[in-house]
């Protein structure tokens, strides 16, 4: 019988003797393994984390697709099952114009994006032609959400599988670095679904909310696609008010509208009110003032507004309400909605400070106008 209670560890591992071969093996073997297989081991560890994230992304895209199909069936009363049509659309892609010769690229991008928007609208309308405009805009947004999540999943999965296939650790590093940002965005997009289904205002709608209230009891007209215009007097000044047409889910086409307004009655200043992404460490729902066109998106609307303002020498002022990406696309938070009155008084103060009686001001409420009429 071996007496396990009487083993001398110093003697077994030779801690007191540097030439013990067993101890040398314990130290040298992992070093050799890490030299030859280090990258593969790191790949395996990183793969585990990425696999979990991909599983989540897959769940998000399935949820978005299911919610979309369910919403279409409940609210559009289609004559036939819309699943096939929706599935076909999820895989549609947009090829951006070549940018080797960038002159005139904005026009090309605008054309491509608008062609896609028009196609989406017609495609959704073909599911049930009697659907009203409000419902149509909701379904188009839900379709955009489902398409975005589908595309994010496909790209991340492709990057992961390529690195695995090639057994190439450096290839997976960029993915590992950007994955937390992608996951944050994907989670925010998924959480946006209920708000758009129910027609509730989102954080991005604070600009239209402020301007929409100022438009109440005025004569309104559609000035460009899904964009509303109204005129109002304020302390002997003329106010031109502009926002996307609510309460549907749209951002309108403010670029086209500004072109028309400036051609007809050149305003002395332009004020843009929009939601802006807050920096890490900043509180949500704080406001800030600045200069320049406050409008997000792909950049074509901003380009158009900047070009018109520059040609006509019109200064652009901006008021932004800071928020996270999640706050911007999900149900408006109490803090953000509480800022509406404060922003309105900042606008009036800005007008008094920068214009004289008799001058005119173009005020644009930028953002998605879901749940926010005028």
């Amino acid at each position: 019988m071996v007496d396990f209670t009487n083993i001398d560890l110093d003697q077994l591992f030779g801690f007191s003797d540097d030439s013990n071969p067993l101890l040398m093996l314990v130290w040298i073997l992992p070093i050799i393994i890490f030299i030859f297989y280090g990258q593969r081991i790191q790949l395996q560890v990183t793969s585990g984390e990425i696999k979990k994230a991909i599983k989540k992304l897959d769940a998000y895209r399935i949820e978005a697709r299911t919610e979309l199909i369910d919403h279409v069936k409940k609210n559009m009363n289609p004559s036939e099952d819309p699943t096939k049509k929706i599935d076909r659309f999820l895989d549609y892609f947009t090829i951006m114009p070549v940018d080797m010769d960038p002159a005139g690229i904005v026009g090309k991008v605008r054309h491509t994006v608008r062609a896609r928007e028009d196609y989406s609208r017609n495609h959704v309308k073909s599911i049930s032609p009697e659907t009203d405009e409000l419902e149509l805009t909701k379904v188009i947004t839900l379709l955009e959400i489902a398409t975005s999540l589908h595309m994010i999943f496909k790209i991340v999965n492709h990057m992961y599988l390529t690195a695995k296939k090639q057994n190439n650790y450096p290839l997976i590093l960029p993915l590992q670095m950007i994955l937390p940002f992608i996951m944050e965005e994907a989670e925010a997009i998924t959480k946006a679904i209920p708000s758009f289904r129910m027609g509730q205002p989102v954080g991005d709608g604070i600009g239209p909310m402020v301007v929409g209230k100022m438009m109440l009891d005025t004569k309104k007209e559609i000035i460009s696609f899904q964009t509303v215009f109204a005129e109002k007097e304020f302390e002997e000044r003329k106010l031109f008010l502009l926002k996307a047409e609510g309460p549907g889910s749209t951002v309108g086409r403010p670029g086209d509208a500004v072109e028309i307004i400036v051609a007809k009655n050149k305003p002395d200043i332009i004020i843009m009110v929009d939601a802006a992404l807050k920096m890490e460490g900043e509180d949500s729902a704080i406001t800030a003032q600045g200069f320049g066109a406050a409008i997000g998106g792909i950049g074509t609307e901003r380009f158009q507004i900047e070009e018109i303002a520059t040609k006509n020498n019109i200064p652009i002022f901006a008021i932004v309400i800071k928020q996270s990406i999640k706050d911007a696309i999900t149900l408006m938070s109490k803090d953000i909605s509480n800022q509406a009155e404060n922003v309105r008084s900042q606008i009036y103060e800005m007008i008094r400070d920068n214009t004289k009686p008799g001058q005119s001001i173009l005020l644009i409420g930028v953002g998605n106008t879901i749940g926010v009429p005028q």
Binding site: M198, G199, Q200, P201, M209, G212, K213, L216, G246, P247, T330, L331, M332, S333, K334, I336, S337, N338, A340, G371, V372, P373, Q374
Partner: protein, 59 residues
């Protein structure tokens, strides 16, 4: 030690256009901003939706 699950509840704030009395209730499907909803309980004025927002509560 364990953080409680938070859920977002949507609320609608109605404000009387005449006496400015405010009323908070749960959001109902079909609510949208500036819609005139009902008569004011205190002055017979018209209640208008002033705000729609979400508040998180711990489950």
């Amino acid at each position: 030690m364990f953080s409680k699950e938070k859920i977002i509840v949507a609320y609608t704030i109605e404000k009387c256009k005449a006496c400015e009395m405010e009323r908070k209730r749960n959001f109902k499907q079909g609510d949208y901003l500036f819609a005139e909803t009902s008569k004011c309980d205190s002055c017979e004025g018209v209640m208008q939706i002033e705000k729609i927002f979400g508040e998180s509560i711990e489950k």
